[in-house]
C-alpha cells in the first residue's frame, strides 16, 4: 500500500444525502460523529459538500425527485469516489418498496459500492461499511 492509498484509507470525507429516509438511518449516521462512536478517529469528516467528498453515504428510499439531486451530487464529486447505501430503504426500498413514489433502491440512480443493511442500520454497521468502501476504492 503506497502512501497515497494509505492516506485515502485514513482520510475519508463523507457526504451524506438523505434521499427519502425516515430519519432513522440519518440519526445513526449523525450518531457516528458523536463522542461514543467518533468516526473522526478514522479521519472521517462529514463535509457536506460533494466537491470535497470521497464517500457518498445515501440513506432512504430515493424517490424520483431525490434521485435527480442524488445524481447531481454524485456527478460533482471528484474521483476517486465510492457510494455507500445505508439501510433497507436505500438498498431496496425496504418496507416502502411498493409505494408509488419510490424507486427500489438507490443503485438504479448511482453505482453503489457497499450495501449496509438494517432498519435502521447501526452505527457500527455504517462504520464497517465505510471502511469496506475505502478498501474497494484502493483496490480500483
Amino acid at each position: 500500500m503506497n502512501i497515497l492509498q494509505k492516506s485515502r484509507a485514513k482520510s475519508p470525507w463523507i457526504l451524506h444525502y438523505d434521499a427519502g429516509a425516515c430519519n432513522g438511518c440519518d440519526i445513526e449516521i449523525l450518531a457516528c460523529l458523536t463522542p461514543v462512536y467518533d468516526i473522526e478517529r478514522f479521519g472521517m469528516v462529514n463535509v457536506g459538500n460533494p466537491k470535497h467528498a470521497d464517500v457518498l453515504l445515501v440513506t432512504g428510499t430515493c424517490n424520483k425527485r431525490s434521485a435527480r439531486v442524488l445524481k447531481n451530487l454524485y456527478d460533482q464529486m471528484p474521483d476517486p469516489k465510492v457510494v455507500v447505501a445505508v439501510g433497507a430503504c436505500a438498498l431496496s426500498g425496504g418496507i416502502f418498496h411498493e409505494c408509488y413514489n419510490v424507486l427500489q433502491g438507490v443503485d438504479g440512480t448511482v453505482p453503489v459500492d457497499v450495501y449496509v443493511p438494517g432498519c435502521a442500520a447501526r452505527p457500527e454497521a455504517i462504520m464497517e461499511g465505510v471502511m469496506m468502501a475505502l478498501e474497494k476504492m484502493n483496490q480500483r
Partner: protein
C-alpha cells in the same frame, strides 16, 4: 461551558473502541434474521406477516428466499413461525459489496440479486 470542556479534557473519552472491541450486545436485540430450515414446513406464515415482503416461500419447491436488503428487522416472522425456525440473531447484518439473497432449499446458499451466484 469552560468547566465542562475542561473536565472533558481531563477525563477519559467516551468513545467506544470499535472495531477493536465489540460492544456487548444486549439480550433480545433484533439484530438480523436467522433461518434454521431443519424444522421448516414451508407454511408461509412468515412471508404473510412480513410487512416488507422480504420473504418468499415456494411451498412446492420447498424453497425460502429471504431478501436481507428488504428486511426491516421487525421480528414479525420470528413471532409468526410456530416451528421456531426463525430467530433474531444478536449480531447486526454486515455490509456487503453485492446485494445477495439468502435462499434456503435444503442448504442455505447465497445468490446475487440478479440470480447469478
Amino acid at each position: 461551558m469552560i468547566n465542562n470542556v475542561l473536565s472533558n479534557l481531563f477525563s477519559k473519552p467516551a468513545t467506544r473502541d470499535f472495531p477493536a472491541k465489540m460492544r456487548e450486545i444486549a439480550e433480545n436485540v433484533r439484530g438480523s434474521v436467522e433461518f434454521n430450515t431443519e424444522n421448516c414446513v414451508y407454511c408461509g406464515a412468515c412471508a404473510l406477516k412480513c410487512p416488507a415482503n422480504a420473504i418468499e416461500v415456494d411451498r412446492p419447491a420447498k424453497k425460502v428466499t429471504f431478501d436481507l436488503y428488504k428486511c426491516v428487522a421487525c421480528a414479525c416472522c420470528a413471532e409468526a413461525c410456530r416451528k421456531g425456525c426463525i430467530q433474531m440473531a444478536k449480531q447486526y447484518a454486515h455490509p456487503s459489496y453485492r446485494k445477495m439473497d439468502v435462499v434456503f432449499q435444503g442448504e442455505p446458499l447465497l445468490t446475487d440479486a440478479n440470480g447469478d451466484s
